[in-house]
Amino acid sequence: MKTIAEVVARHNVVVCAGSGGVGKTTTAAALAVHGALQGRRTMVLTIDPARRLADALGLRALGNEAHVVPLPGPGSLEAMMLDQKGAWDALVEHYAPSADVCQRILANRFYQHLSESFAGSQEYMAIEQLAELQASGRYDLIVVDTPPTRHALDFLDAPKRIAAFLDRGVIRWFIKPYFSAGWTTLRVVNRAAGSLLRRLEEATGVTALVEISDFFNSMSGLFDGFEQRVKSVDKLLRARSTAFVLVATPEAQVLDEAEEFGRNLAELTIPLRAMVFNRVHHEAATDLRRLDEEWLRGLVAGAVRGRERAGRLVDNFLRYEMQARGDHLRMEAFRRQLPGRPAVAMVPNFEEDLHDVAGLRRMLPHLLAA
């Protein structure tokens, strides 16, 4: 697959990954607009807490529900933003065996903290949501925007980590003896654990532990078949119909992070299908080492009739040339170390934020070109 257009055309799920602030959300939105314009029933799912996609699609508020984005043509575009807290609640409501258990969990203070701040929960809920959208059969193409790559592995590992967290064996070991047999049993079972819990109890006050215990007690049995679900979600991420697209800018620090993400993918034997460089400066117009600067200053001074203004114009030009040269050297070096042969796109540095569908369409020719 040589172009990103081909990559999008041949996959049902496109996952956009990258550091914060590289235009990942905008890229995901643009790819979704493209899919819809190609006649596919398209969904773009963002989990970015800053609600940038809402801005990019000109929508005021994205909720946990799908919003239809008006587009001309045969396809359709819907956008959805994951509300993490709401998604956890929905999951509990879905799996709870009775209304009573459901209420007890939702009211639990430990649960409330967990659903708001448990690391990886955001990532997991995105994947869970993705699986649900995929299973609904309502979409031909789902484009997913992900949290920043500082937490790259968090995203891919999220299903496994959540499964480990909710593992019933662990829960029983961790908390149940505290209720069922008391501290003595626990101490016999595991000396170190007993000491640690005793220490924790002294440290935290009993009330918190009781809440945690209660939480685990309510949760155990709740996620029967959860492991199965985690497996199917993990399978979706590794499916042949799923494509990973890495988004970066030509900045050195961003590329370092992108390189790490590429390595992570390779370790997980997930192929990288495409690479998007955003905010690329134009190609350098000159070889600066060969340019006769004085001659250029004279030329420009003649054109604008003023040496001082000409000086500023040429200085500006030379600064941009230098920046462009750096960008391209770094991108070349980065491309050389990329495993596999992903499609590569370079999107120029737009002087205006792309915040509506018309803006996203302006981005497409660059994004889709070979």
Partner: protein, 327 residues
């Protein structure tokens, strides 16, 4: 507030959206403090440490201060390592401690307990900020914290208050209370924001500012507006260049004149965009602004960082639009 006043505070948090140059600004702030003869600990939280590269310094082990430049030490902080260090302090029995670290339960607990890593990270920062040496003198004049990007950064700042409220008594409650006291103390702490003058970064910065003021009640410091374009170019000159390019019969001349015009147009557009969003920022955020230029470079390195620190020191803070409600 200006830089002089900022440097009366011990804990200087640098927060902002990803990709706006937060680490760069934190490093420049550290250089400026060091230039003033203050001893600085620059902490990077959770993730790839970038300061060592920018300051051309060695990378240290997690939680270890490493001397980077005169008056500047660096430290990478990560919650799990900080928790281990903390437990080493409160559990003096070495054998017991090793048993704890070895137990799988401990690792599950660390992975699972919500907010624990964030809490320990802030705890470690508190420890460094309050640290004194044997003679009773402060170990660091300033602890500068390069915080994680907006969303995650707020999660860190929120955690002490959440822990204090969740645990009504006991050690965690007492420790969390001390952290909240430090973070909300305008005599010791300032939360600084970094942004670029572009639409989405400004939106996020405004959101973060409101959360800091209204929910967290934390004292704010300076607002650094980074990567401002201002080539001081005139649109009329772009027209003249374009006209001259059309007249020219020489291919090289025409190509170069067009390229010079194109780059001038780009710079003018960026300047206009920056001006517009900077005005929006100044209207929505009641914090003194320090303007920092976009620094063109083939490779952004220590020389550029030093230039940025110099520009920071030379910048005059512009007073906020309205001063009502300032703490």
């Amino acid at each position: 507030m200006n830089l002089d006043q900022l440097f009366t505070r011990r804990l200087l948090v640098v927060a902002g959206k990803g990709g706006v140059g937060k680490t760069t600004v934190a490093c420049a702030l550290a250089l400026e403090a060091a230039r003033r003869g203050r001893s600085v600990l620059l902490c990077e939280v959770d993730g790839v440490a970038r300061a060592p590269q920018l300051l051309e310094a060695e990378r240290g082990a997690l939680g270890q201060a490493v001397a980077a430049r005169p008056n500047i030490s660096l430290m990478a902080i990560e919650g799990k390592a900080a928790l281990a260090e903390y437990l080493t302090m409160i559990i003096p029995v070495k054998r017991l401690l090793q048993a704890v670290f070895k137990s799988q339960l401990y690792h599950y607990f660390v992975a699972a307990a919500p907010g624990l890593k964030e809490l320990m990270t802030i705890g470690k920062i508190w420890y460094e900020a309050e640290r004194v040496d044997d003679s009773g003198a402060r170990r660091w004049d300033h602890v500068i914290v390069d915080a994680p990007a907006t969303g995650h950064g707020l999660q860190y700042l929120r955690m002490p208050a959440a822990a204090r409220d969740a645990f009504e008594v006991g050690l965690v409650h007492r420790e969390a209370t001390r952290l909240v006291e430090l973070l909300t103390d305008p005599a010791r702490t300032a939360i600084n924001l970094v942004t670029t003058a572009e639409e989405m970064p400004v939106n996020e910065t405004v959101t973060m500012y409101r959360a800091l003021r209204e929910d967290l009640h934390m004292p704010t410091g300076l607002l650094f507006v980074n990567r401002l374009h201002d080539g001081g170019l005139a649109a009329a000159d772009v027209e003249r260049l374009t006209a001259a390019a059309e007249r020219s019969r020489d291919d090289t001349e025409r190509r170069l004149l067009r390229a010079v015009a194109a780059r001038a147009r780009e710079e003018i557009a960026w300047t206009a965009l920056n001006t517009r969003h900077r005005a929006r920022l100044a209207g929505a955020i009641d914090m003194p602004i320090i303007d920092l230029p976009f620094l063109f470079a083939e490779e952004f390195g220590f020389a550029e960082l030093r230039t940025l620190a110099e520009r920071m020191a030379a910048a005059r803070t512009s007073a906020p639009v309205q001063r009502a409600g300032r703490k």
